[in-house]
Structure formats: C-alpha cells, structure tokens
Amino acid sequence: MLNDVTFGQYYPVRSFVHNMDPRAKIIFVIAYIVAIFLADNFFGLAAVILFLLVAVLLSRVPFGRVLRSVKMILFLVIFTAVLNLFFYAGESAYEPLLQWGIVRITWESVVNTVYLAVRLFLLVLGTSLLTLTTTPVSLTDGLESLLKPLSYIKVPVHELALIMSIALRFIPILIDETNRIVSAQKARGADFDTGGIVKRAKAMIPVLIPLLVSAFRRAEELSDAMDARCYRGSKGRTKYKKLRFTWRDLVGFFYFAALITGVVLLNVYLGGRFEFLAWILN
C-alpha cells in the first residue's frame, strides 16, 4: 500500500551539483528565488530559465524527472491563472479584450497571467532541483549549519536539526510498521478499500491508534538509548562530519551573482513587462 513512497525525491547520481555543499545550494536557491522575483520582464525570466537549464544539465537529473515536480502545483497555477486572467483589477491602457459583468480580460491581465504562471513554475523547478540533488540528511546538516547564528539568541538549532534527522530516519520504519498493522487488521477482516470517504477514513482508525502507541514506545526506547550514549544536548558536542565549501561552490557563487546582475540589467535597459507590451502593440 505504501511501498512506493520514497521519501523526498533524491535522485542518486554523482554530479557537479550533487557534490556541492548543501549550505551553498540552499543559499543559491534563495538567490535564484530572488532573481525570479526581481525579473520584471520576459527577458529576465528567459535568463532565469536559461540558467536553470544549465544547472539541470550539470546535475545529470533527467529533465522529465525535474518537470514531474510541477504536477503537484499544476492545479494551484491554473487556479491562480484563471483568477488573474478574469479579475485583474489594474488600469488598462488598451481596449478590454473581453468585458462581461465584473469579468474583464485585458492585455495587461493576459501578460500578468502568463508572467505569474511562469514564475510559479520556475520557483518549483528550481527548489525541486535542490531536493533532487541533496539528501534530506545533508539538507538538515546544511540548515543546521546555516542557522547556527540563531543559537546565540537561544534558538535550539542543534536540537531542531536532530529532531528533523531522527524524523527522517524513522519514516521508513514507521511505513513498514503501518504496512504490518494494515495486514494484521485485514487478517481480522478489516475493510479499507470499499465505501465512501468517511467510511474509509474511519477504517484507518484501527491502524493509526496502534501506530501511535508504538511510535511512543519507540520514542521512549530511543531516548533511553540516547541517554545511554551520553547525549546531553549540544553542550560540549563535537561534529564528525564537517561541511566544506569547495571550488564548485565558488563557481556556483559567480554563476548566481551573474544571474542576479543579468536580471537587474535587463530590468534597467528593457523596462517592465508592460512597457514591453506597449512596445509590441504599437
């Protein structure tokens, strides 16, 4: 039932992008998102797309695999696009293309809709390249290291990161356990596959309760085991694996610096998206 759930979507190959420091990748994704929001015309977005394509090529993750991540937000994009297309409230310099009650389509709303959809897609594609090329564990390590300054203002960064990585470690174990409980309940005649949504949801109760009980038991044993191995929080702790920036991260730094500069320059020289519209329509 749950066998095909692979956690995260890590794509295990060796590549330039895979070998980058997770901290660098997190920062670059943020830079990439900034670039998307800075790009105020279609040339800027085209630049972002170009940079993303090169990054995907370098990561050796198949394009189809990257594109698959868009499926999740397809509905969201269509929904916002429709709203934007019909109910865009901005001023329009041209005759409406369609006017029907409060529904009005203008050139501006068309441009805006396309623009917004492309932005959303790029957002998801870029961030999923991060999770495709970085294991959840090293993502957690990277986050812990990046958020370390917060521990000076008493944010328990180490503890949060440990909770995260333990959660990641127990997901496959709890999935196995769920499968076992489902089989056990089926053997006793439980029916999970028929009936309406309410009936099916109710049928899950005899699965969830034993799962919860066992999760608590595991948590207790794990905490004993951690105590026995001298765990006492971040106090006096060392770290075996140290993250290291390499030349790859330096390349990445210049790459994304170039992207942001490029996008800003395109904004300055070619203007916003509506100026572009005016340029086409006249």
Binding site: I173, R218, A225, A228, T238, Y240
Partner: protein, 278 residues
C-alpha cells in the same frame, strides 16, 4: 578490580507501592567477567541493567560502577561513558540514517575531536565486522547486522563494561549467533566486562557466570554448568534448561546412562559413549 557493585539495591517503578522490581540485590561483578543474567519476564533483570548506567536510580541501597556512586549526578556522565548499553530493538537505538554517522553519535556527544572520531569508527566497525557497511543505511541491513551496528555505536565510546539488555531477543538464530560471536570476542580479546541479560539459556552457557533473578531477587549465582545442574530449582523459577541439557535429562529419565552435556557436541559425545558401553 570490581566493575559493578550492588549493595542491597531496591527499585520500585511506583513510589507509593511496596512492590519492588528489584528487591534487595547485592551483587559484585569483576572487571573482565562475562556474566549472564537470567530470569523470566518481569523478574527484574532489565531493571537491574538500567540501574547500572543510571537510566534508573535505586529507591534504596547503592550502586557503584568502578567505585563511582551512581547516586551522584556529577558522575552520571562518567559512568555512562564507561558502561555501554545495547537494547532489544535495533531500530529504536539508531539515530542516524547512515551507519558511520550513527557510530559517531556517541563520541560526538562526549566531545571527542573529529580525527579521533574517525579512528574510533574504524575501530568499532572492525570489531563488529561491519566496516564494509560504513556508508550504508541501517534500514537495509538484517537484524543481526543492525544490532552489530548498535554494538559498534556503543564501542565507539570505549566503554569498559558492555550491557546487552535482551539484545538478541528479536533476532533470528543467525543474527543471534553473529551478535554472540562479537560479544565473546570483545570479552576475550579486549577484556571487556560483559553483562548479558537474556532468556535464552544456550547463550548463558557462553558466559563465565550466570545469575538467576526471580521476582526482583538474585536466587542463583554461579558457573552456568553448576546452575544448569540444578534443573529442579530452575524449574521453580520457570526457566528451562539449555536444549542439550534438557535432552540429556530426559534420556537419563528414560534409563540411558548419559553424563552432563550442555552443547550439541557434548551431547553427541555422551550418547556415543553410553552406546559403546551398552
């Protein structure tokens, strides 16, 4: 040197009750000894184990580990460093998703420098014969392998005492054998003090000394062979004999003149001898 000393120790899980999980235990374990603690479910053997590394604190009496008093909170950390504990379910004692990270967890906690952690991982994984799985994920390993990783995780702390709390109970016969091999080797080659909590009588035969617990008390204490020779007494504590010894006893009852045997080989020898005589 005395590794563990219990002085009239009592422990109750509930403060308001007079039922003691461990009820007046006095026990001394020497460094380098391999002690099996036997007893049926609820006999207090696991509680005894948790009292040693201060996961529990005695309600009465005192526990000392290498002369350090377990009641002193300042010494808790030092005691735990010296007493490694392996639990029953291998899944519930692994914190990391990669073998070497999990083995590193203990040394990281006590602040071992990074290069030294690397050496300790090497040492611990070699000791349990799992070096080849250093970069693997524990989820894909067999039960016996997972438990050996758990032992490695404890070994990386360089403890002097290793407590195995029913660590073989969830394993198949092969995994059980793997773990016992590792434990015996540690005891023999490194002089590790081993306290093996178990309800498998055959495992107890591998120890130098067997302690039988019943209702929170130590009721028998001696060489495993001596203990198993007193089979009627064992029965009153709901414990069975090792399989070979049990067959031996049945054969004698049926009139075959066999001597004492505890392992399959010894049993085969005894049967041959008695057949030759006949």
């Amino acid at each position: 040197m005395e590794a563990v000393r219990f002085d009239n120790v009592k422990y109750s899980y509930r403060e308001d009750e007079d039922t003691f999980a461990v009820n007046g235990v006095t026990l001394s374990i020497e460094q380098g000894e391999f002690v099996a603690v036997l007893g049926r479910n609820g006999s207090g053997k696991s509680t005894l184990a948790k009292l040693i590394n201060v996961l529990l604190e005695p309600t009465e009496g005192s526990v000392q580990v290498f002369g350090m008093d377990a009641a002193d909170p300042d010494l808790t950390f030092e005691i735990r460093k010296n007493t490694g504990m392996v639990f029953q379910n291998p899944d519930n004692q692994t914190v990391a998703s990669i073998v070497e990270d999990d083995v590193a967890f203990g040394p990281e906690n006590i602040g071992v420098p990074r290069e030294e952690i690397g050496r300790r991982i090497d040492f611990a994984l070699d000791a349990v014969g799992m070096q080849a799985f250093r970069h693997a994920t524990p989820n894909r390993l067999s039960g016996g392998q997972k438990q050996r990783i758990a032992i490695a995780g404890v070994l990386a702390l360089l403890p002097k005492i290793m407590i195995l709390d029913e660590s073989t109970a969830m394993l198949d016969p092969r995994g059980r054998r793997e773990v016992m091999e590792v434990v015996k080797k540690l005891n023999r080659e490194q002089g590790m003090t081993v306290i093996l909590i178990t309800h498998f009588m055959d495992e107890a035969l591998q120890a130098d000394r067997a302690v039988v617990m019943h209702r929170g008390e130590v009721v028998m204490d001696g060489k495993p062979e001596e203990i198993f020779a007193r089979s009627d007494e064992l029965e009153t504590y709901n414990l069975t004999l090792p399989r070979a010894a049990y067959i031996c006893k049945k054969l004698r009852a049926a009139g075959m003149p066999v001597g004492e045997a505890f392992t399959a080989e010894e049993l085969a020898e005894e049967i041959c001898r008695s057949l030759q005589k006949a």
